[in-house]
Amino acid sequence: MIRLERRPQPSTLWTALTPVLAVLLTMIVGGIMFAALGKPPLEAIRTIFWDPLFHPQFASYSRPQLLVKAGPLILIAIGLSVGFRAGIWNIGAEGQYIMGAVIGAAVGLAFYPSDSVLLFPLMVVAGALGGWLWAMIPALLKTRFGTNEILVSLMLVYVAENILASASSSWLRNPEGQGFPGSRNFKQWPAVFNDELIANTGMHWGVVAAFIAVIGAYVLMARHIQGFNIRLTGEAPRAARFSGVNPARIVLLCLGVSGALAGMAGLFEVTGPAGQISIDFGSGYGFTAIIVAFLGRLNPFGILLAGLLMALTYIGGELAQLMLGLPGASIQLFQGMLLFFLLATDVFTNFRIRFVGREVA
């Protein structure tokens, strides 16, 4: 008979091991799914995990693309992880990402066609501010009226999507776009185009910001008193209150940081890889980042690796669709499995398995 027994302390070994185990289980079960679809399972797994890095035809292109795809995921996930550590659940990063992009782009376009070097930094600030403001709505509602930040932040995603639609089809629409929805393309505006800093590396300002955020989050959580307060609030809210931590301030801080980082991610994306505000601009980074944050164990360096892994499954998944004709939905299922197995294997972190003999009644 198998029994679960609570560990006195979460196991550090298993904390590190579960992501690896989750990836392996995803490969196995995913492989079975691919086989059931009539596709060669080993080749599919290899296409997803190996080809984007080492395929002779694709790798030189897809390796830099990993950074392009992982950059916003990491930046958003770092912000989310700060809140998640404190038990503050910002599910609406997608909305903050969109609002950062819209407000940042609007500020930039107001100065079109200026070629001032100050414009891009100004847009970054505006983008961060846009995401911050959007996150302040659930934060203030929570601190003032005790509303649930999960619901409010999630609902605000749909509001943001509608603002995005109205921006791209009316007030930010390209006046030279023949009436089609979508703003001017930032790629044709060198002063604010968030191009690769070094050609063919995929490294743009958003990726740089993501790396800085990783280090910043590490310093905050491991070395700074606010980081300690955040962790304490998450692990022992009563103890936190007794030691003088102001819970409202923690809510404002956590939602503010995650909103501002998501907004910046949106701005870097719209001025870089996406190029313009369009109705389909929000491509789910804000939601995927939640998976990345948990896959990375809410640890800044873990998130860095998790973001790259997630990007790998995206790009590898596209290659698998292309080369093996796998349906798009099966790739999404595959990514979903990753989170599912992570949560499932997490049980070993807090519990140990005991095999006990049949008890005599």
Partner: protein, 358 residues
Amino acid sequence: MIKRRTLLAASAALGLVMGGAAFAQDVPKIGFVYVGPVNDGGWSQHHHESAMQMKEHFGDAIEVIEQESVPEGADAERVLTQMALSGADLIFTTSFGYMDPTINVAAKFPDVKFEHATGYKTADNVSAYSARFYEGRAITGYLAGAMTESNKIGYIGSFPIPEVIRGINSSYLHAKQANPDVEIAVVWLNTWFDPAKEADATQALLDQGADVVLAHTDSTAPLAVLEKAGAYGFGQAADMAEYKPTPRLSSIIDDWAPYYIERVQAVVDGTWESHNVWQGIGDGMVGIGEFTGPIPEDVLAHVTQMKEDIASGAYHPFTGPINKQDGSAWLAEGEVADDGTLAGMDFYVEGVSGSIPN
């Protein structure tokens, strides 16, 4: 450090061996990129089905690769690049939003040919193709005018772009031919596909007194609402035959297969050249679904004749005299609209009320 480097080199070599086999074929490889899932019931599904008909036509002489649900923007550019890298010879990008990504990627792969649907930019290796849906709108508009009893027809607009404005103008002009007292009410949704919104808009138009509703969005939701209300509508993008005989009176069907077969044949023959085409009923790109429901004999005869005349080129749906909404002259008696004006149409014709949102 050296160890790590040799490991990388070994990995790269291994990848070379493993990947080499997959690219041995040398039949032309044709790629399709879709904005929605291939079973969306509308736009993407029709491109996919046309692609499959094309594949059936050529059999083993070509290979088809597809990618569905590709967001417009940064992801599209990556997907197109990967397709080109995988050895595709011809890539169809089947949504308007792929225009800039297609042009960007095409510039990097001069030997790969691209066909972009419904856009206006072309290059040496990028063609643009689109359908003259306004020809179909002339027929459904005439039917709407003939069948309305309240003298009010509704139109569900997606985005205020020339394509949709042409459809509204063509529908109204021909509804008026059938019924001089007809009025048209337009609702804008800012989406191509959102069944809930489409149903709400249909209900709103019915509440305003319309009893025939034309839709420029892709779902069957409007027909479902019209069925309950006992009003009439049309299939859009697909035949939507499940709503025969009423409320669906006819339909405008997107049929890309003949074009896909023609263009793939050109690649096989080595005669492909960039062009910008706009095909209609005559070429088969715009299909008119079977006429069903209680359409009177004389109306049926008229639309059947109209369909033939448009197909043969004897009749152009935008033939003067036509005034613009503000009363200024656009086309003189007998004058036919030129493609340039139609492609960028940003005005209503006289008689359409309301203004175009911008």
